[in-house]
Symmetry: C2
Subunit: 313 residues, 2 copies
Amino acid sequence: MAAADPGALVERARTGDRGAIARLLSLVEAGGPAAAAALADLYPHTGRAYTIGITGPPGAGKSTLTDRLVGRIRRDGDEVGVLAVDPTSPFSGGAILGDRIRMQDHALDSGVFIRSMATRGHLGGLALATPQAVRILDAAGKPWVIIETVGVGQVEVEVASAADTTVVVLNPGWGDAVQANKAGLLEIADVLVINKADWPGLDDAVRDLRQMLELSGASDWEPPIVETVATERRGVDELWDAIGAHRAYVEADGRLALHRAARLRTEIRSLVAERLGERAAVVCDGPRFDDLMTRVVARDVDPHAAADALLDS
Amino acid sequence: MAAADPGALVERARTGDRGAIARLLSLVEAGGPAAAAALADLYPHTGRAYTIGITGPPGAGKSTLTDRLVGRIRRDGDEVGVLAVDPTSPFSGGAILGDRIRMQDHALDSGVFIRSMATRGHLGGLALATPQAVRILDAAGKPWVIIETVGVGQVEVEVASAADTTVVVLNPGWGDAVQANKAGLLEIADVLVINKADWPGLDDAVRDLRQMLELSGASDWEPPIVETVATERRGVDELWDAIGAHRAYVEADGRLALHRAARLRTEIRSLVAERLGERAAVVCDGPRFDDLMTRVVARDVDPHAAADALLDS
């Protein structure tokens, strides 16, 4: 069928066809040869979109803040794509789309494309799928792509930090700067947001964050701390200005191109590792594997020796 | 030097020598051939320890609760090992040991061995290192090993759920049951704890959790919900009894042996994938890789095609 042909889908997606964009995104989530073929067609038409990563602990208000940023971008007339990355349960495979409901303000706006990306059931799956999903929205002509994560797991931090500007959202009451630092959040933050800034503890949170930033601060860029109350649309312009200032900074001296090249290197390394992992899955199946497992359970063979034996076969 | 010989270290660790245990744990964190050799020596002497995983969002009080459980176990005269698994920053590589300071009650107790395990800089590193670390404590004669995670990232959930009994710690104020469900926590919980049970919102939290559990509840085992105030040592006996009840349940009908065999299968698959990943690292280096990267940055070659070309070489 012509409509399922990746090349035809790419052509349609480039005209902004929402159905084609959605089908390409599903292709990329599923992985496999069709996704690779679509990427090959897409890739020459990418490189114009600017990506914004939004991460932070669950409940910090990331979805609402993303919604407000979308509104701010639309005020300028620009189109925007949103990828809500949700590693959630490694067991059931389903994304809970509750958060998306909050964004229904924009459901009827053809200039906004929102998509939840769920886990593909293995570590690193989303880290590989997300840059490809960004390329689809990029080739479809969205000048802005927001990558919002549900939480602050390793994968989510990896995904959010692979954006051109990474925004870390915290709350006055969320633990403290030490917790954010523990999760690796301060190191990846280009812009820090304290959302729910009308809650108690704001001054403490700002002070703690500044101290932690000073301790780790080796970079030229000092992440600004923006106070917002997303539910009341407070601080959204300031956040947008801070993102713009960071963009101007990275674009000024070729830093953005260097960052993007470094991300490509990492991506290709991960792709190579993934393909080798597929080979591993083939090796770890069948009667030879079952036989070895029986011996490992009986403690005749240790797990490392079993892995070596499988690789030698 | 004889002391660095894995075989000699294993012999000393089996007598409970703390220095030898610590060196073996460092070996396993670092990975490589010495770790594999140590594991081969250790492996026949393992299988007696019972493991308890403790996970939950940052700030839920996991460290304090672990400390109380250690105290409870010591009251019975049993020895116990604690592994505090901390994927924290994928960038700096260092574990922040602040939480450990809270456990200094047991610092002088020779029946307690506490160790923080930090990231080895790549996804899955801790998931592979943790079961090996457990084996060291197991072979050293600890009948109980507690695996405590710092947060609820994918790796941490994976690590904590690979215990014989997994305890998930929440708070009355921590988002709601939906957030816990999103993070995959309810699916892995054998015992649920609502710590800081003296905070407002306890009844709502218990009700929400029960509802979520009923919706997902396909298993024979219904996770009990234990209310604790770890700082005041309230509910610790009840938690210990709940862990004991779950242990009795899995031990009654061979379920524990099946679970452990399934975990071994997963571990060996991961070991095979890791070794293939090391081969990937070799491929993704050198002038050929640099040349391909230049072409990918110029958009002459797409990332998938580059990965294929590297694997063919």
